[in-house]
């Protein structure tokens, strides 16, 4: 059992969050002391029939007084916003070179998959001190990936990919919880995050049963689902080559340019009519309902791996 009285700060982000939290705690504490103190003071001093001075109100209790405390409150709140807001902004994007892990949520379990293809259920092993980037999607309802010790939480939504990242800073096993109500067994949709030394993590990975790695699986799907029939270099259908598109800007037929990231590729597969590439006809069929989230992630990983190959030559 974990301690009922304290929560470890097990990620770099946890320290930032706690710092804001404690400042807020001090400010709120001071406000509570002020307000409760004044109420108590007045309640005693000005109780009915007490001999405390009444008479004309002192001069200073004027509009200026009220405007003064309004401004003071406003300024301190704007300061709080600025501080919390800038902390939020600086932790938005995952650093380059993060370990990418795919997470699929479904009623009522978490499935995770490492870049090597190793899979886990309701568990995730991560190396200490290395940023970990989670790419998450849901197969049914909305869930929420919550690791209190890391102070991170992100809803996992069907039909789109959401992400978070963290960098573990303490060894140990930490609870993973589902925080968005998702039906009957919501409260047992829990798991464990194990933080290991990088060398232990490497060893652990090797011991995992050989899973097909994502890109590999994607390559197979690319053929079996018929994508290659249009997209392969040898095809005589007029369709764009996919090698190297990942991460590039794509010109669309309606004049927009968009970045070919995970979301774009996902949309291209599920709703091809939405973003039609300039110079091509909208003949690509939608694969909505034909591919599940795991398969979409594999295909995306495959297309991404094509980009990496492309950049080698």
């Amino acid at each position: 059992m974990n301690s009922p009285f304290s929560l470890p700060e097990a990620s770099t982000h946890a320290v930032t969050v706690d710092r804001i939290f404690y400042l807020l705690l001090v400010l709120s504490g001071a406000t509570v002391v002020l307000v409760f103190g004044l109420i108590l003071l007045f309640a005693v001093r000005y109780r009915r029939g007490s001999s405390a001075k009444r008479g004309p109100m002192p001069e200073f209790l004027r509009r200026e007084f009220e405007i003064g405390w309004t401004l003071a409150t406003l300024l301190s709140f704007v300061f709080l916003f600025w501080w919390a807001g800038s902390a939020d902004l600086s932790s938005l994007a995952a650093p380059a070179g993060s370990l990418e892990i795919h997470v699929v949520a479904k009623q009522w379990m978490w499935k995770t998959q490492h870049p090597s293809g190793a899979r886990e259920i309701n568990a995730l092993h991560v190396p200490l001190g290395q940023p970990v980037h989670l790419l998450m999607s849901s197969q049914d309802v909305i869930h929420s990936f919550f690791v209190p010790a890391f102070r991170v939480k992100q809803d996992v939504v069907p039909g789109r990919e959401t992400d978070i990242w963290f960098q573990a800073s303490k060894l140990g096993v930490f609870p993973l919880l589902c925080a968005e109500y998702c039906g009957t067994d919501h409260s047992v949709m829990r798991g464990k995050i194990t933080v290991m030394r990088p060398e232990d993590y490497a060893r652990w990975l090797v011991q995992q049963p050989e899973g097909d790695d994502l890109a590999h699986e994607g390559a197979k799907l690319f053929v079996s689902q018929g994508c290659s029939g249009c997209h392969a270099g040898s095809s005589n259908v007029h369709a764009p080559r996919l090698a190297g598109i990942y991460g590039r800007m794509v010109q669309l037929s309606d004049g927009r340019t968009v970045k070919a990231d995970d979301g774009y590729i996902r949309d291209s597969i599920l709703q091809p009519k939405r973003d039609v590439v300039a110079g091509y006809d909208a003949i690509m069929p939608s694969f909505k309902g034909l591919l599940d989230d795991g398969e979409l992630q594999s295909l995306t990983a495959y297309i991404r791996s094509l980009a990496e190959e492309g950049s080698h030559d």
Binding site: L7, R47, R48, A52, A84, S144, F146, A179, G183
Partner: protein, 557 residues
């Protein structure tokens, strides 16, 4: 001729008060008297309050043990959903506006009734019809979506009675809208001669601001529920991502209503407290016009902060920042109000009858809840505590600690006016103190549990949180007693309470100038107003220095 008549002591023409003006059931069910409709509402929401309370009693009992011992997960989920739906839409939203507001708004502005008396009655019947849907949903097997009805769970996955429950909330929304329209029209059209806008009691301003929100926000609730029903029953693809829908769209619609709705639940409470504190402190309210502007600001800005419920939903970082900023801004007028209530005590002649105890309790608990709102407005902290017990504690501090305490403050304050009876004051004081204690025992531990990572809506939970849940459940027992007590002694007072005079608290305000209980048309003569609402002493002075006997004198006006 009797001696009395001969002596010139002529009997008044018979003029029964509104309670005795017709005593058949039918005279109640077809009444258009705002005061009687207020009573109908009071009975209705009391029923729902205890129904919602019964549901949560089972929830709290279950949470004594980390792995459950009493209920199945499905039952547990249905109980907290039912609790939320009932408490929000069938108790708290109608509580102060439809009971005290209905009763007092015309009295306070010197009008014989509301602007549309029959619409008023109709809105009560809508509430009853809506309640029937919701109770049917319970009896038929329950609904398990939570009060928030999030899609796609509610529209595609839940196997429970979502349709009936959503229909109930849909219908009760129209009751809200009807009431809002009625109160807005009443405040605009029916003020007595001399009752200018800035002579309105703050309670009237509060009800007015609340009504504006009801009219502007509730239609969006109706739309969002209608869309859930359309997807669930007719299969229209709206929130289903596999067919081009967007499940997050629902959250935007829902919170566009439900954030303003939290102000529907708290503004009237602010109004009550702003009447009670000046009366028992014998002081003019500090900064009357600031209080008015603060309420209007809250009502206005409240429409632009809904995204703070969605910081982890995947909404864009820019949107989150804007919503965070506006959430901090909306806390400013709330803070102003707390400072002004406190300052109104300065140099008062304060006495501590039960309405005052409840009101001071409101100020304390609202302050605590409001401060916890600042934590939630800070994005990095919210990301950690959202969907945990921290949020549960936050909104209970404001809505239960705050609004329900204020409702009890108002109930006790105006009880003599409404019923013509005095209640036993020592019991009432005891209940007020017990309620404050029980409330904190129940909800303070939840802040800790939430920060340490206990998610909300958890039927079973990691063992380290048991200590907080046991404290909470024990506190809930105390709180339950504190809520049952007034039911007992107030009912008792109906039969055995002493007769109340017209103005037992020596309060200002037009409602105290008529008899207790008032006649059917409120005033025997058209009131005229020539002063501000809280003239307990001359301008620029503090509370009177009269001896306590004089301060305590009843019926001085």
């Amino acid at each position: 001729m009797t001696d009395a008549l001969l002596a010139g002591d002529l009997p008044l023409p018979p003029r029964p008060d509104y309670l005795r003006h017709g005593s058949t059931i039918a005279s109640w069910l077809t009444t258009t008297d705002h005061k009687r409709i207020a009573i109908l509402y009071a009975i209705t929401i009391t029923f729902f309050f205890f129904l919602g309370g019964a549901a949560v009693t089972a929830v709290r009992l279950e949470l004594f043990e980390p792995n459950g011992w009493l209920l199945t997960s499905d039952t547990y989920n249905k109980l907290f959903s039912f609790h939320g739906i009932i408490m929000v839409w069938f108790f708290l939203v109608p509580s102060i506006p439809n009971t005290l507001g209905n009763f007092l708004l015309p009295l306070m502005i010197g009008a014989p009734d509301v602007a549309f008396p029959r619409l008023n009655l109709f809105s009560w019947y809508l509430t009853i019809a809506a309640g029937a849907f919701t109770v049917y949903a319970l009896l038929a097997g329950g609904v398990d979506t939570g009060w928030t009805f999030y899609t796609p769970y509610s529209s595609m996955f839940s196997n429970s009675h979502v349709f009936a429950a959503a229909a109930g909330v849909f219908v009760v929304g129209f009751a809200s809208i009807a009431t809002g329209v009625n109160f807005i029209a009443t405040t605009h059209m029916l003020r007595a001669p001399g009752m200018t806008w800035f002579r309105l009691p703050l309670f009237v301003w509060a009800i007015y601001a609340t009504s504006l929100i009801m009219v502007l926000a509730t239609p969006v609730l109706a739309i969002s529920l209608l869309l859930v029903i359309a997807e669930r029953v007719l299969g229209l693809p709206i929130f289903d991502p596999a067919r081009g829908g967007d499940p997050i769209l629902f959250q935007h619609l829902f919170w566009f209503y439900s954030h303003p709705a939290v102000y529907i639940m708290v503004l009237p409470a602010m109004g009550v407290v702003s009447e009670v504190i000046p009366c028992f402190a014998r002081r003019r309210i500090f900064g009357y016009d600031f209080m008015v502007y603060a309420m209007l600001a809250i009502a206005g800005i409240g429409f632009f902060v809904w995204g703070h419920h969605m910081f982890v939903s995947g909404q864009s970082a820019l949107a989150s920042l804007v919503f965070s900023f506006l959430s901090f801004i909306i806390a400013v007028p709330s803070a102003i109000k707390v400072f002004n209530w406190t300052a109104s005590l300065f140099r008062g002649q304060i006495s501590f009858e039960s309405p005052m105890l409840y009101s001071l309790g409101f100020v304390g608990l609202f302050t605590t809840g409001g401060l916890s709102g600042l934590f939630l407005a800070s994005i990095p902290v919210d990301v950690h505590v959202t969907d945990t017990y921290f949020v549960v504690a936050h909104f209970h501090y404001i809505m239960v600690g705050g609004s329900v305490s204020a409702f009890f403050a108002g109930l006790h304050f105006w009880w003599p006016k409404v019923t013509g009876k005095l209640y036993p004051e020592s019991w009432a004081k005891f209940a007020a103190i017990l309620m404050y204690a029980g409330f904190n025992m129940t909800f303070l531990p939840q802040f800790f549990a939430g920060y340490l990572g206990m998610p909300r809506r958890y039927h079973t939970y990691p063992a380290e949180f048991q200590i907080y849940n046991v404290m909470s459940s024990a506190g809930a027992g105390v709180l339950a007693v504190a809520y049952l007590l007034p039911l007992g002694y107030l009912t008792w007072s109906l039969f055995y309470g002493g007769r109340a005079g017209n103005n037992p608290w020596a309060a200002t305000g037009l409602e105290w100038t008529t008899t207790s209980p008032p006649p059917p048309k409120n005033f025997d003569r058209q009131p005229r107003v020539d002063r501000g609402p809280y003239e307990y002493h001359a301008e620029g002075m503090s509370a009177g220095t009269d001896a306590p006997e004089v301060q305590n004198a009843r019926d001085i006006r």
